[in-house]
């Protein structure tokens, strides 16, 4: 899937951002407003100016539910009500932050969707987890998944906000 951001402005943090991300491309984001940008790409929040389009179709509050069927999203943080066991296979409460992030990422990649929007956890990941994350992202990109992620280890395609 091709993701295009044209002159996107969100609040005070993101101003006039334009970028095109092609099929199977993996792009990292750095700077202030990373999570805000990812939430806008999945249509959880609106943008103030500009537009976001996916495969040439405009992302709007009305079209977002349609596009989300092709997207997998890994949030920065996730908290679950008591007794909710569908996330983390019932082990969420006992998992470490790294295990939780890996579970969410593995689930997102395993969903077979064409676009992955992966935020980074609030706490820094351990070295081994970072390597595992990079391996999983690399594999997904190799299968043609378009990836936008918060990851400063991606050196080639970085969006600096």
């Amino acid at each position: 899937m091709m993701l295009e951001l044209h002159n996107v402005t969100i609040g005070q943090q993101i101003k006039g951002l334009s970028v095109t991300i092609g099929d199977g491309q993996i792009v990292g984001i750095q700077g202030q407003g990373k999570t805000t940008l990812l939430r806008a790409i999945v249509g959880l929040i609106g943008i103030d100016e500009g537009h976001i389009s996916i495969d040439g179709e405009l992302l709007t509050p009305q079209s977002a539910p349609y596009f989300r069927r092709f997207m997998a999203y890994v949030p920065q943080q996730l908290s679950l009500p008591d007794g909710y066991t569908k996330v983390g296979d019932g082990r969420w409460a006992t998992m470490t932050a790294d295990e939780r992030y890996l579970w969410l990422l593995t689930k997102a990649i395993g969903s077979g969707k064409q676009m992955l929007i992966a935020d980074a956890p609030a706490q820094p990941l351990g070295m081994e987890t970072q390597q595992e994350v990079d391996r999983l992202l690399g594999e997904a990109a190799g299968r043609g998944v378009t990836i936008v992620t918060v990851n400063d280890r991606i050196t080639q395609n970085q969006i600096q906000l």
Binding site: L44, M71, Y73, P75, L78, V87, A108, K113, I117
Partner: protein, 89 residues
């Protein structure tokens, strides 16, 4: 006697139902405030708006009515008592 019994049982049921409903609403409201990231997670991964709030509804219903169901012995005794009174009367 029968009418009195029915009024008492209905009053208890109404009170229990009101209390359970209040507990359910409080649970839903608290969950939405504290765990809204789950709704967003589900929504962002392709769930519909209704599907994304279902875990909160389910939890609220469980918190509201499971304690009542767990007191089934009490309700069974009340029912048997009612039938007994009906039969004696």
């Amino acid at each position: 006697m029968k009418t009195f019994y029915i009024i008492v049982v209905l009053a208890v049921l109404a009170w229990k139902g009101y209390y359970a409903w209040g507990r359910g609403i409080r649970t839903y409201r608290n969950d939405r405030q504290q765990h809204d990231s789950l709704r967003e997670y589900l929504l962002a991964n392709g769930a519909t708006a209704r599907q994304s709030v279902w875990p909160f509804w389910r939890h609220a219903l469980q918190r509201a009515f499971l304690p009542m169901l767990s007191q089934w012995r009490l309700w069974l005794i009340l029912l048997l008592l009612g039938l007994l009174i009906w039969w004696i009367d």
